[in-house]
Amino acid sequence: MLKILRINTRTREYTFEDLGAYAGLGGRALTSRIVSQEVPAGIHPLSAANKLVLAGGILACTNAANSGRTSVGAKSPLTGGIKESNSGGQFAHKLPKLGLLAIVLEDKPEDGADFTTLLIKKDKVEFLDAKNLVGKLNYAAHDVLKAAYGDKVVTALVGPAGEQCLMTANIQFSDPDGRPSRSAGRGGLGAVMGSKKVKAIVLDPEAKDSVEPADGEKFKTARKRWLDILMGHPVTSQGLPTYGTAILINIINEAGALPTKNFRSGRFDGASKISGETMTETIKARKGAYKHGCHTGCVIQCSQVYNDKNGEYLTTGFEYETIWGFGANLLVDDLDDIAVMDRTCDEIGMDTIEMANTMAMAMEAGLVKWGDGKGVIELLKKVGTKDPLGRILGNGTDFTAKAFGVDRVPVVKNQALPAYDPRAVKGIGVTYCTTTQGADHTAGYAVCQNILKVGGDVNTLGKAGQVEISKNLQVATAAVDSLGLCLFVAFAVLDTADAVSVIADMVSGLTGKPYTADDVVALGVNCLKDELAFNKAAGFTAEHDQLPAFFRNEPLPPHNTVWDFTAEEMQAAKIA
């Protein structure tokens, strides 16, 4: 049986605990259960009472395709609510080899304490002096750790932003190529890790435990069918591998929903220059890789290796959201500049969506001109330094808007909006408003039914059916995140009749106990109940489930629609 490793960052005591009441959970269901049960909702997120939970999903210990995603949970410094931030990388793949389902960082050292590196070995934790890493950017820090522990070392890092406990700080996980490129981006969880004075978590590359499925034949049969489902769907077998998530730039622009110049228009004149098609051509010309997996076991391969003009590695995991945020939303149409911004965020350890919106605030304030990519790069590089401006920017969209008197602030629950204008994709707006996470597209990706004709088809500009779609997707997403599966499996799952029962069969084959499609649904429902209970106790009410007023007051070209849901109308999207 896998265990939970609890580490007290103040006393340096640690315990390997049986799962006990947490048995049967994994990923987001586990992080949210631990946070909702063990962290008082009213606490300051940077205080000793917060806990940082890093977990693999229920299927992380198997070789099922795309089952290696990592969930990170805590009370969010950015939203003040519960947070699960989901990442690729090798961390969740390695945890079971150490006999672990999750690691929980508790308490915090006294003021003035030095940063530590936690070296996690089988049955043992070592607290190492992190002086050799403090102040370093993530790639340089990971290089130091590779030199010490080998190229296969698996790490979780906070960059300078996390060291300073800034609200945009993320946690960067190492990928299969040995780069710290994968981000648990949203909600400032790097600040929680930084507050506990942990610079790096290192998983012993020598660990080689394995978990055998209890019913090997059942698991194997289900696993084979699972692979066929993913490889048989055009989105997961062709579109995503070839063009990455940036394939969305053109279609969201065509649909008039690509937020441009801080959500003033749904179309960007420079869209084709920053599209997935252009990215793939550029990558091919520079001999990068347009097919690339973020974790061992990924068959969708939506990532890429993006080289600069000289053919030198620049970035990977170059996502649609990042390209939109630093591109269309800032009127920047130079893909190389946007790639540098992506890398800069990965280096300093910042969420790209939050920082992109923060840069829009900087443009509103006149700190940098609209469209000035080089100016944006200079501003980003201030974060994590001693420059007070870096401290302001590094605290995100709302904080920066307040510092400079900007009133056009696209946030819900203080978290900045992603890459779909809710006036032209009403269903994703319902998710932005009602998810426990603050404005988050992944929490209930209604773009599927609104734009992509996956899992259904509704009028994206209308209200009909949107609340129900968002609710069902929020449940499904919570289940996917708890199983440790990549969310992109949903494109195939939504269109395949037996997919959920095949997933249930994989769990049943693993545990040797009955597990049905109903259990998969219950996993998602119960996860959301935990999260909603935490947020309610933290003071969130229906009034917080709404977009800023400008979405209601300003029609969005080209369709000239406005946001017209009341908070009350959307309450049915939340699990009762």
């Binding site: 769907h233 055009p234 989105v235 997961t236 062709q238 579109g239 995503l240 070839t242 063009y243 990455g244 998530t245 940036a246 394939i247 969305l248 053109n250 279609i251 065509e254 649909a255 008039g256 749904g266 179309r267 997935g276 098609e277 939506c302 649609y320 959201e321 597209h441 992944t442 990706y445 773009v447 599927c448 734009i451 992509l452 004709k453 996956v454 088809d457 994206t460 500009l461 969310l487 992109f488 494109f491 080209p558 369709h559």
Partner: protein
């Protein structure tokens, strides 16, 4: 009568040279244009006319903006 025509992702190879001012026959539907491009209809998952989802039977008119996509996902 002309339309602005765009074929995205894998469908880009079917884009004609005069795509920005693609000549239309009176009464042309999306299906007729797709056929004239030599593009198998089964490869087209999403049709947008003037930024709105449309069908193969949608009749096109002068000045329309037609976008054709294969199955697409991301996020």
């Amino acid at each position: 009568m002309v339309i602005s025509l765009k074929c995205f992702a894998q469908l880009g190879v079917y884009l004609p040279e005069n795509a920005e001012a693609y000549a239309l026959h009176p009464g042309d539907t999306v299906a007729a244009v797709v056929e004239r491009l030599g593009l198998p209809q089964a490869e087209v998952k999403l049709v947008f006319v003037n930024g709105l989802k449309a069908g193969f039977d949608t009749v096109l008119k002068d000045g329309d903006r037609l976008g054709l996509f294969p199955a697409v996902g991301g996020g």
